[in-house]
């Protein structure tokens, strides 16, 4: 116990650095996947593109994110002979971001599609007969109703994403699990310590707890209509 208390400040500092990387990947993924998911959702609802986008979604959802990370990271360098990501940590973050954005956008797109198709067709028709354009109807009528409908399933995905970021360890992104595991071998004078690895769970728990509260607030804010 004494040893752990002694090691604590060093470990916390190291885990904080790792968690910062986790957070970066998390937010970059959300910022990229929210709009890309909408684009894919519209693609899978429009007749000419439908089959292409749905096949794409099938492939991405049907294969492990871990494999996708490996492919996105290594494929350009090993197969195309053009290592676009570079070797450093920023290159790994870029590769991980692209993989996560594409993967999560596919999941989001299905949630969006459910949200859009769940809105009664009467809402669109009411907008049309009032002389609104389709763009106006989307922005002023259906969008908020869609957001309300997708908050619960989105919350699920967002919380899963927090923990999925740890998969990027497979390409050695120095996120929090990587940082915790480093003490097993040797890092900053500490070696053979396994507790930091378990300790990382506290970070995930607190962060997902905060997100749960925030998303719950959003859900409540939107409960004024149904």
């Amino acid at each position: 116990m004494e040893l752990i208390l002694e090691q604590m400040p060093i470990v916390i500092h190291s885990l904080n650095v790792g968690f910062l990387q986790t957070l970066k990947l998390f937010f970059i993924t959300l910022i990229g996947a929210f709009p890309l998911g909408l684009v894919i959702a519209f693609g899978s609802m429009s007749p000419p593109l439908k089959y292409l986008t749905r096949t794409f979604v099938w492939v991405i959802r049907g294969t492990p994110l871990m494999i996708q990370l490996l492919i996105f990271y290594y494929f350009p360098g090993l197969v195309l002979g053009n290592p676009i990501w570079g070797g450093g940590e920023s290159g790994r973050l870029a590769a991980a971001s692209v993989s996560f954005i594409i993967n999560y956008a596919c999941y989001f797109s299905e949630i969006y599609r459910g949200g859009i198709q769940g809105i009664p067709v009467g809402q669109q028709e009411a907008g049309l007969v009032l002389g609104m354009t389709r763009g106006q109807i989307f922005r002023h009528v259906t969008l908020l109703q869609m957001i309300k409908a997708i908050v619960p399933p989105m919350s699920n995905e967002i919380i899963t994403l927090v923990k999925d970021t740890s998969l990027s360890r497979i390409i050695a992104l120095q996120e929090i699990i990587w940082a915790g595991q480093a003490f097993l071998k040797s890092s900053q004078g500490i070696s053979g310590a396994i507790w930091p690895l378990f300790f990382t769970a506290i970070y995930y728990l607190i962060f997902t707890g905060l997100l749960t509260i925030l998303l719950g607030k959003l859900e409540k804010k939107l409960s004024y209509f149904h």
């Binding site: 009411a126 007969v129 009032l130 002389g131 209509f225």
Partner: protein, 265 residues
């Protein structure tokens, strides 16, 4: 020339013909009731006039202006369609109010957006706050007419079905349509709420308000209409004044339909 002229409207869904050549005219300030069994094409006819369905043949003209002509589909571009749709107001069976807006905003949303686009098209300065305020005044006046001046800040989910339908009527009136269409406006309502909606519709009747009403309320159709059309299997089976159609129907189909709808259980 009549105010509204509908000629040769045909429409099929797949291989099922729904409208098989509909012709009728309506004068300004008249009320037309469309009656007939479910599936006879009444609603599709109404929706065709509002461009919610595109007919496969025929023309619709209003006040001499051709709004729809199947032989000239160029007129079906979105922007033009929008302008043409504004000649008709529509009140739906299921209200279709916007749930996230309160009563007043349900009425002003489309007015505000239209005013903005019109100002933009005319390259005029647009004072959003002032326009919104003016639109609110118009909407308040109309909501008062339908008896909802105390519900302006309520959301649709806080209203009864009858109140929702009266909001929908007010919302349609706010766009100042030339013709107000009702698609079975009381079919989704409890019997005790039907009366308040029918009363409002009746109160709108005046020399400037032209209305087309699809309804199963025969007593109401008889009282409020200037003209009644009975549809069966996608054609106009019989048309005339309420006295003619209800009092002295000629077609056997009309007779049988009226007998069934008036028979007490």
């Amino acid at each position: 020339m009549a105010f509204l002229e509908v000629s040769h409207i045909r429409k099929s869904f797949g291989n099922t013909p729904v409208l098989q050549g509909i012709d009728f005219t309506l004068e300004k300030g008249q009320v037309l009731s469309l009656i007939g069994s479910s599936g006879s094409g009444k609603t599709t006819l109404l929706r065709s006039m509002n461009y919610l369905e595109i007919p496969q043949e025929g023309t619709v003209s209003l006040n001499g202006e051709i709004l729809f002509d199947y032989d000239h589909p160029a007129a079906l571009r979105d922007e033009e369609l929008r302008q043409k749709r504004l000649h008709f107001g529509m009140v739906f069976q299921s209200f279709n109010l916007f749930p996230q807006y309160n009563v007043l905003d349900n009425c002003t949303l489309a007015m505000d957006l239209l005013a903005k686009d019109q100002a933009k098209a005319a390259r005029q300065r647009f004072d959003q706050a002032a326009v919104h305020k003016a639109n609110q005044e118009v909407a308040k006046g109309i909501l008062d007419r339908v008896g909802l001046s105390t519900k302006l800040a309520n959301y649709p989910c806080e209203l009864s079905g009858g109140q929702c339908q009266r909001v929908a009527i007010a919302r349609a009136l706010c766009m100042k349509p030339d013709i107000l269409c009702f698609d079975e406006p009381t079919s989704a309502l409890d019997p005790e709420l039907t009366g308040e909606v029918l009363k409002v519709i009746k109160s709108l009747k005046n020399k400037d308000t032209t209305m087309v009403i699809v309804t199963h309320e025969m007593e109401f159709a008889r009282n409020v209409s200037d003209k009644v059309i009975f549809m069966a299997d996608g054609v106009i089976e019989e048309e005339g004044t309420p006295e003619e159609v209800f009092g002295n129907p000629k077609s056997p189909k009309t007779k049988s339909f009226l007998a069934k709808s008036l028979e007490s259980i």
